[in-house]
């Protein structure tokens, strides 16, 4: 029986939400290929949330447990996935920090190519076909994966988790012996616990229009009012040192696809638009009515962001309180 392997992610014993998206993408391939889906969980012990994998579309849940697997373990994870991966028609990863590191390792070990950051999957003539944004989303590439195992990573926030009513049979995977060359010592939390712009449902981004770094507090307040929101930034303000580079949205930063993207004081340079144009809804707030950002925005307000943003924060709070 043809099978698809979905490589899930956990951090410190908790399954990450993107895992359900990986299973959803694997399920979509499986339906078209008449295949089954195995979800594999790599962890240091029991992982919270694995019971959700069956209902999300996994026929079997494989567990690989190792004392060194609490945190991401590049060599150990790669050895484990490669030890079982060769028999699958396709292996699906998340294009997350860990998945982007792991998928090429597994591909190289299996002697296969790898398609990263995939936003749509299909099957044509028995082969996996993928769509992936290139040039930071300024173009979409369609490609056929011709190897014996199709290896791909999917962009977070693009495959909606599915709901089926079943449990998923549990299986154990033996972790093979491996040479550990790289060790993840710890994951340092940022000073302020912040959601990553690639994973947030709402992204509120600021640009030079904010005038000085301290004014990003306005956007943090707006993000807090929305909830499940992250604060992003344009390249100009990141290069000026106002914000961490991890918050940069655009071609040399991150590509985001939230439900709602609010661009504040951002004119909309081509390289910024590339990073956020697949957002479901875009709101622009800018004093220049001719700013290019309004050409891609679903809704815009022209005016002084220092008056508009606090008002928006209040209105969102009011709505959330209802």
């Amino acid at each position: 029986m043809t099978a698809i392997l979905a490589v899930t992610e956990q951090r410190q014993g908790a399954l990450r939400k993107v895992s359900l998206e990986v299973v959803a993408a694997a399920r979509a391939l499986a339906e078209q290929m008449g295949a089954t889906v195995d979800a594999v969980v790599l962890g240091g012990g029991a992982v919270d949330g694995v019971q959700a994998l069956g209902p999300a579309g996994a026929d079997r849940v494989l567990t690989a447990t190792h004392a060194g697997f609490d945190l991401y373990n590049p060599d150990g994870y790669a050895a484990t996935i490669a030890s079982i991966g060769g028999s699958y028609a396709a292996i699906v990863f998340a294009a997350s920090a860990a998945g982007r590191d792991l998928s090429p390792r597994v591909a190289a070990r299996l002697g296969q190519a790898c398609a990263t950051d995939v936003t749509a999957v299909g099957v044509e003539g028995g082969k996996v076909v993928v769509t992936r944004p290139v040039y930071a989303g300024k173009a979409l590439q369609k490609a056929t994966l011709g190897g014996s195992v199709a290896i791909l990573s999917i962009r977070p926030n693009t495959f909606a988790p599915v709901q089926a009513v079943k449990a998923g049979a549990a299986e154990i995977v033996t972790v093979p012996a491996f040479t550990q060359r790289v060790t993840v010592r710890e994951v340092k939390a940022p000073e302020k616990a912040a959601l990553d712009v690639t994973e947030a449902t709402v992204v509120v981004s600021g640009g030079r229009g904010l005038k000085e770094p301290g004014n990003f507090a306005l956007l943090e307040a707006l993000a807090a009012a929305f909830g499940n929101a992250a604060v992003g930034a344009s390249r100009a303000v990141v290069d000026a040192g106002w914000r961490e580079h991890g918050a940069q949205v655009g071609q040399t930063g991150k590509t985001v696809a939230p439900s709602l993207y609010v661009a504040v004081g951002i004119s909309g340079a081509i390289q910024h638009l590339a990073g956020m144009r697949t957002s479901k809804v875009i709101v622009a707030i800018n004093k220049d009515k001719d700013a290019p950002i309004f050409k891609v925005a679903d809704y815009g307000i022209v005016g002084d962001l220092f008056e508009i943003v606090p008002r928006l924060t209040d209105e969102v709070k009011k709505l959330k309180a209802e």
Binding site: A97, V134, R185, P190
Partner: protein
């Protein structure tokens, strides 16, 4: 310290993408090509580590058409000692590129092999990691802070909601993210010196690869939406639209 850096020639990030007549690639007419921005961080790291060590050699590798030499001269002008261009008209996929680079780098006796975390054209995010796997070297990818003390490497990489602290030993492969350093601009003296630095050309033949690009298309244009109004008084209307029309809050 002997350090290799791999470089890719890519369209400038301000390029407006036009699909070529074949429907699979970009129209390169009028496009300005530059060193991949993430590779510039790798170049800077290589030059700085050699300066700190006080001795050694830095070598830049690239795979591409002959025109890639121009891009490599930029690396030499920054301060890289010499270059090797693996001449190939194109590349089917990242794994084929990784195999060619690994075969070339394998015998170089490098302490450190540096890449940018990804190229801003194809977004593959994989060649450096694959080269490390093929050479059976430790690899830390997407590194935003890097320290090397003797043979011990300590790196930080950004992960969702935090920063991973990762260690390994040299020789190693590191792929660079923004934040790791600020790349220097080539000096006039550097540009002059670069013209005389050795740049070796080696033809390579790549395999057919496992990824076949069948189409390249521009994403659907977003329709410009509506200006809800001017100033803070437009905010309540915006919030209602977001709730009732767009249904996002």
């Amino acid at each position: 310290m002997k350090i290799a850096v791999c470089l890719k020639r890519v369209p400038d990030t301000t390029t407006k993408i036009v699909v070529a007549g074949d429907g699979k690639s970009i129209d390169e007419a009028g496009v300005k090509f530059v060193p991949n921005p993430y590779d510039e961080y790798a170049l800077e790291a290589a030059i700085a580590f050699k300066e700190k060590a006080g001795a050694g050699e830095t070598v830049v590798y690239a795979l591409g058409a002959d025109v890639t030499q121009e891009t490599m001269r930029t690396a030499l002008a920054m301060g890289i000692d010499r270059g090797v261009l693996l001449q190939s008209p194109g590349s089917p996929d990242g794994f084929e590129v990784a195999k060619a680079l690994a075969a070339e780098i394998r015998t170089g006796g490098f302490d450190l092999v540096l890449f940018g975390k990804m190229a801003v054209d194809d977004y593959n995010h994989q060649v450096g990691i694959m080269v490390a796997e093929l050479l059976e070297l430790p690899c830390i990818s997407a590194v935003s802070a890097l320290a090397i003390d003797g043979g011990a490497v300590t790196a930080e990489r950004e992960v969702e909601g935090g920063v991973e602290v990762v260690t390994c030993q040299l020789p190693a492969v590191i792929t660079a993210d923004k934040g790791i350093n600020t790349p220097r601009l080539p000096s006039l003296k550097g540009i002059m010196a670069a013209k005389k630095k050795p740049l070796e050309l080696k033809p390579v033949t790549l395999g057919a690869g496992g990824v076949t690009v069948t189409a390249l298309a521009l994403p659907p244009e977003r329709q410009a939406g509506k200006i809800v109004g001017e100033g803070p008084d437009a905010v309540p209307a915006l919030v209602q639209l977001l709730r009732n029309e767009a249904k996002v809050i």
